[in-house]
Symmetry: C2
Subunit: 286 residues, 2 copies
């Protein structure tokens, strides 16, 4: 019988726990609200223990968190507005409570990227970028099949993109004001236009400007990393027609130097399931 692998997706508001097999197929899952570390992870452990002996665990987590396994503080949350989680170490917690367990951790968007590469919108590819546009703007990057980790925060949201000439909005980022996230996230859209993204009609000027910013950020990734595929997901990305607008701007910015980049842009295929599947794949490789 194949080993059962545990998976955990820690989100800002909801948590998903699951069990799956080594091939990365989910067997069973359970969703509940994220509260304090002890309570949230206690529920997760009770759920796993009632079903299987856990030897391997993959985690897809909100950040900022140390994801470089060579560092002593691997799996520790850093400065985050979620006070209860700041400084909390996932690896320490699970090593104490699940004796001998092997733990592998990535960010939520990195996990989603791994899942899309395993069975979704980037099947069989090695150089892929996944950007998620919602409450924040974040990215995961695989180069030659390996997640890029760097020292911390290779998440792209705080890139400074060129401002749209008609945009006088000051920006929504508490650190940089008008970085990529500060100009293109859901909260930025809402603050700039006075209505949340899902209430802005398809032909509203908001979407031309949003496409401009998204294309600029994705173009920067192309100039720096030259990925084969660009996956754009997250709530804001689902606005009707937005993908096509961004793709056509990417073609313009390629300017005959790069081959037309627009065709590299796709939507994710796994939807809500990507994070927990990615966590399971991490666990299977731990």
């Amino acid at each position: 019988m194949s080993e059962v692998i545990a998976a955990l997706e820690l989100g800002g508001t909801k948590t998903v726990v699951a069990l799956g097999n080594e091939a990365g197929n989910l067997l069973e899952e359970f969703r509940f609200p994220t509260t304090t570390p002890e309570e949230t992870l206690g529920i997760a452990m009770d759920w796993w223990r009632a079903r299987a002996d856990i030897h391997r665990l993959g985690i897809a987590s909100f950040g900022p968190i140390r994801i470089d396994a060579t560092r002593e503080d691997y799996g520790t949350f850093l400065t985050t507005p979620k006070q209860a989680w700041q400084g909390f170490s996932l690896t320490e917690f699970f090593h104490r409570h699940l004796c001998g367990v092997k733990v592998k951790i990535a960010t939520d968007v990195q996990a989603a990227l791994l899942a899309e590469m395993d069975r979704g919108a980037a099947l069989g590819l090695q150089d892929v970028l996944y950007v998620t546009v919602g409450t924040g703007v974040g990215a995961g990057i695989c180069s030659h099949g390996n997640l890029i980790k760097g020292t911390l925060h290779p998440e792209m949201g705080h890139l400074m993109v060129r401002r749209h000439p008609d945009d006088s909005f000051v920006g929504a980022c508490p650190y940089h004001r008008d970085c990529w996230e500060g100009l293109a996230s859901g909260p930025a859209l809402e603050q700039r236009w006075g209505a949340p993204a899902h209430e802005l009609p398809e032909h509203h000027d908001a979407w031309e400007m949003e496409a401009y910013y998204l294309a600029h950020g994705l173009y920067a990734a192309c100039a720096m990393l030259s990925p084969e595929r660009l996956i754009m997901g997250g709530g804001v990305s689902q606005a009707p027609g937005l993908h096509a607008k961004v793709a056509s701007l990417l073609d313009v910015y390629s300017a005959g130097y790069f081959e037309a980049l627009g065709k590299r842009l796709v939507a994710p295929l796994l939807g809500q399931q990507a994070g927990i599947i990615g966590a399971l794949l991490l666990g299977a490789k731990s």
Copy 2:
């Protein structure tokens, strides 16, 4: 006796050939002008053959050139203003003329990066960016010790950076006008200010603006890749005081979100030798 490795550095105007050992130490080298592919590479082969049997060859080349070894056209020059080299395949040439030779190719700046990581300004590090600022602006990136190759052109020069508010210069890039290279290269400096970089005095306004652009490009790499070290080389980078100006702007752009990034910026240590040493290291690993 240790095997002798061949190394070739192909530059736009000059070519360097060398022999070295498996540890990457140069034994002998020879420099001559780059002309046509057949003449240039013929001189290289004659020089090697007169000295040793060649089984492994590392190449640091100008671009654009295919550097993904999994592709059929690995080692082939793409659209380049150097007509005689366009479409020419280095791998095909050497496989035909140096029977059984193993060839490994990287761009000139990637080779310089490998050399600096082996024995220079990034000794022992795994996540490093090397940017060169001269006739063009180019970069090489290592993530977890592996060169990032992507599909093509992960060289950063065509990044679109935010324009300096006082800069009305249209830009020098024939494709994008005011991309990073179009605003910050040596020719851009000369066209904007009416004098070549080495004639612009240290306290000329040119250098504040140049530092602004260089810091923006390097900041983008930090936001996307989070490298441990940023090496800035190339002729323009050697202007007195420029490194310090760029480092201090990097601290400003970190904005308390990233730890102050300025201290990650260093100058290369290997100077002119970096390219050929990197080529030798590539050959030793081929």
